[in-house]
Amino acid sequence: MPKHGKIKCRSHALSLKNHMDNDRMESIFETRRNDMQVNRMQQRKWAKIIAILIGILAVVSVAAVVMTQLHKGNGRCYAMIYQDGELVEKIELWKVEESYEKTFYSASGGENTVMVSPNSIGVVKADCPDQLCRKQGMTEGGTASVICLPNRLVIEVKLVESTKENLDAVSR
């Protein structure tokens, strides 16, 4: 191809356009439009699928929250206290008769004072910056957990399964 000047180039394009079948031009545009539309439709399809998945997740989560709230009950429960990922204490809260406080120290020097009450437990004093563990207050009933992330303290409260053995223990 010879070098084209600006004008030559334009004329070249023009002649090309003239030579080109009008129908063909139209069909090229048509396919491009169709491509975009197909893309749009694909995107909409995926958006719908993802939205439905999110909806399912929302429903399942709400159900799970409701279930744990219902499951709480007022049954006898015990607390497992983990410090730095290790179980340091297991307290049977239903046996506690008088409230007392106990302080736990983390490996990094953090301090959490835990209040143990009849069938209830919670952090009452902490030196962590966010104080979220303290703000969660005392637990009520079973199935809950109090976590202090900075000091790596986890209190897990669980219901005592009402097995025959436990019932016997009560009746005795």
């Binding site: 958006a47 999110i54 997740l57 799970a64 983990y82 976590i147 992330l149 897990e156």
Partner: protein
């Protein structure tokens, strides 16, 4: 990297860090770790609309690093990073799949994966399954806050148009 791009990304980083720090000083709405609005994610979303994933990641990483230094807790860096990286991967993939028109859905996906990342990090660091009790609450909060930040980014695009006036 062109100077203009550098300035633009720096500007966004500053905005993101500012939002991040201000949000950290606000009192938490719910006393549960991990439940927060995640307003800084609006900046990530806006960048996702206008820039390449590489740029988004640069700003996100800079924000997490600076935010953690200013926040003063090294522990929060690990949580932010695990959440941020997972959120970034999920949002990039989602954005490619469904496009810019549905940025709020992308945002919700990102928020969910952010919380998943934090949960995994908490599982790893605390070595306790009790953390999983928070999973449903974190999912719900992720959906709500993700929708909020996503709509913010959506309206940002509506106001600003298809190209950033920078």
């Amino acid at each position: 990297m062109k100077a203009k791009k550098l300035v633009q990304l720096s500007l966004f980083t500053v905005i993101a860090v500012t939002i991040f720090v201000i949000e950290a000083t606000l009192p938490p709405i719910v006393p549960i770790q991990g439940v927060k609005l995640g307003l800084a994610n609006i900046v990530t979303l806006v960048l996702l609309l206008y820039d390449s994933p590489k740029d988004v990641f640069l700003v996100l990483f800079a924000r997490i690093l600076l935010g953690s230094i200013l926040g003063g807790q090294m522990m929060s860096f690990l949580y932010s990073l695990s959440g941020g990286v997972l959120c970034f991967v999920a949002m990039t993939a989602c954005n490619r799949l469904i496009g810019r028109d549905y940025i709020y859905i992308t945002s919700v996906v990102g928020a969910i994966f952010h919380n998943v990342g934090q949960l995994l990090m908490a599982l790893l660091l605390l070595q306790t399954k009790g953390v999983l009790l928070y999973a449903p609450i974190l999912m719900i909060s992720g959906i709500i806050t993700g929708l909020f930040t996503g709509l913010c980014a959506h309206f940002f695009r509506k106001k600003m148009g298809e190209k950033l006036p920078l």
